[in-house]
Amino acid sequence: MDIFSDDSKMKVKVLVRNPDDYLRETKRDIHKLPRNYDPALHPLEAPREYTRALNAVKLERVFALPFIGCLDGHRDGLSCLGKTPDHLSWLYSGACDGELKLWDVAKRRVLCTVQAHDGFVRAIAYSQESSFLYTVGDDKLIKQWKSEAEDGSDLKAPVNTILTGGMLTGISPHRSKPILATCGEACNLWEHTRAQPIKTFQWGVDSLQSIKFNQVEENILAACGSDRSIILYDMRESVPLRKVVLKMRSNSICWNPMEAFIFTVANEDYNLYTFDMRNLNSPLNVHSDHVSAVIDVDYSPTGKEFVSASYDKTVRIYDARQAHSRDIYHTKRMQRLTCAAWSLDDRFIFSGSDEMNIRIWKARAAEKLGVVKPREKTALRVNAKLIEKFEHHPHIKKIQRHRHVPKHVYNARNELRSGRIAARRKEFNVRTHTKRQKPIISEKVKAIVSEQQ
């Protein structure tokens, strides 16, 4: 008789748990946590997750302390910042009295100081191809420096100096060829061995403010001119490519390091414009939120975000595709900003200002900088995901967007906003009550005056 199929007896099993399976063996083990993901055991999931998201967003605001420190030492206002990919914690800064300093940001001290130029140091650029540092200044010189020693001691004297005839306002090295581009009265291309420019691009008679080589499409340059234009050049051609004229002058330009054809300009009309170089008649995005002229812009090495420094004493961080800033950094002691840089490890933002200080900020204000243990990391990631999941709920959105802004920014913003709404309402009324209609121009395109070939 098979004992397993004995039908004459009843079979009964009552739930019994062996405590050895559920309790830890020694005090040094972690507790055992058996899981059951059956939804019936987890009621009220939506309200619980919502509460967790609310807590997460509040904690994020609690831990949003972006200011790390201040690099103090220059004797005149900052004019430019330079980064090098070989040493992530090094930062070059040029001041208005011609001083060039090399900082070790991690230790917050100066590695080397050198009097680079007689006037302003207008721009610093590091050439990846030849590992040289180039600076241009108001004394119409391009200086080439070698900076490889770990203690920065070989920055004492320039390796090479090129005397140029005209004013110089910006410099940008080619990604893979030993060519530099400078801008001033015109756009010149140099080779560091030659004393004369190998090529000159001229369009119109006005000067150029800032010039940058495209890091992906290596032969394309873009420059901002003082006739409110943005000019695109191809190094291989003999004439500039095209030009787009905006309503106000652009102060600075930066190419997206990841996308081959996207660049962003910082404009005087308080906005930043992101263009696709293939289609210059309409910007891809208009980034507004500043209440005064935007002076400098720099992209994150990921290409997803950029930082902008503005005349209204604030630094704003934007997502590359969003029209409004995701964060704003300000301090009472920070006066007019002149330059901003995003560190090449994507974690820090440097801002140089008129009052001779460089400030170091976190790129993500609530990030923990030290060693993050795996469980902590998971918890932080879960919190970030929860916030993303519930970001459209009004309470959570309100807390997430809440920033304390300086009073002058707050008042100026309200004023500008009411002005914009009034203008929009006026245009709407004019349109609805007139018979002959002018063509509708989208908000984005309004900033552009013309495009020229």
């Binding site: 009843m10 019994v16 059956d38 709407f428």
Partner: protein, 544 residues
Amino acid sequence: MSSPKGSEKKPASEVRSTATQNLKKKFKPPKDEHLLRKTKNKKPNNTFTKKAEGRVVKRQLPKFKSSHGKTPNSGAVQKFSRPPKTGQKGKEGAQDDQTEEDPFPGDAPIPHARLQKHKRGKAEDLDKNGVTFLSNRIHLKKKEKLVKYAVNLAARSEILLPEETGFLEPAKGDCTSEITQVQIKSSVDITSATKQFDLSMQFGPYAINYLRNGRKMLIGGRMGHVAAFDWVTKQLTCEMNVMESVHDVAWLHNETLFAVAQKEWTYIYDNQGIEVHCIKKLNNVLRMEFLPYHFLLATTNDSGTLSWLDVSMGKMVKRTHTHLGRLDVLCHNPRNAVLCCGHSKGTVSMWTPNFVSPVVKMLCHTQPVRSVAVDQSGVYMATSSIDCSLKIWDLRTYNCLQSYKLGCGASNITFSQRGLLAVSMGNIVEVYKDICTETIHKPYLKHFVGSSVSGLKFCPYEDVLGVGHARGMCSMLVPGAGEPNFDALESNPFQTKSQRRETEVKSLLEKIQPELITLDPFELGEVNRQSVIEKFEEKTRYMV
């Protein structure tokens, strides 16, 4: 997911002897196309047996043909498969003379019912015609994929659950309702046999309440006897006589605090029996329910007042006067934390602290409602009235699913975690199985309790039913009542003191605000269409 193929098989060269080298020459090694056809889930259907002579001979197992996995998409996750490894198969593949095809290609299929259990709403094949931007459409598609993956993973992880439910199979020809507690007690192991016990006390009809993790138990006798103890080890936490009539007892969030509804007011006691609070606002309380995720103590009153008290802050969240008479029938729906009250007009009303009037009012019986119970999943509601009827309602559609006629009016009914319904009629307790899904004719278990039953509660995560009656309490064994696999992050019966403290802090942080109590718990995840439309209109008002 699948076992690594190359690592568990030793390279064939180690097993071979010189004799098999000759054998190998006879076999024609197959061409490389056969190797490429093998999938990663190739199960070895050849085994090597060593014969006495030292030759290694292959033995072919018979191929098992089943209908499993033959249909293309039987719930199996096909996409997360690695490409077939050709390099390692070279040596072993050379041995085989026939093509090796996995009869069950892909991952093991998941039963449809299990997948459905883990799904929460529609997240597949959503209509994307309304989405204008391509990037958003792609984003939605990616989200759908993720949700599907999560559902599959959760369904697959059920294989890791350690325990299985209890069961009771009668002898051939018998039925389970004839099996007595004594018989069950004698057939099970010692630990389970100790779970069946009787306590004989003389302090009046007893109300009982189990702690949320099924560890401890609270009993309150009408004449003032209150005791908290671990019912498995019978170790007393505290015991006292409050010298007043006790109507109901309830544990708060953990075993350190419990509430007793006494003659005039409600008192909260420590686990040592020390009176911590006397809440005069909760006066003449008849029934109490604790909502664990909201930290709310809900009480009903002699004069028809429903109150919600936030025990973490000591704040009275809401007191509603129901105007429906004396409320002595109360039950809470664990799925959405609404309270169900039964009334003498035969109606059942549902209340949330956000509205003055009941959110739902159902006419269930023609005679006064005697007892209400809602099952764990919040789908079924059982009501009984004094005209001996028992009805099962679907709480999503508010339809009557089943209607039964009992021997006499059921005074207490309660659902277990696995859907068993316990009904007490006078001094008999009957347990019904699958009462909501099918029309049944016989109870699953019956037990004759000596005196009239006043309290009936299933113990969570155990196969035990606690019965409080006029002369004490009795604990019954009901195989298959409790949920075998608990989730330690929800309630852990094996909680240590440090874990209890951690859980208390974490659950306080995640305390849900009472404003979020709604009939549909997933309403928070839905889009509020009205406000979206309003915002859009405002933004585009002056747009040309």
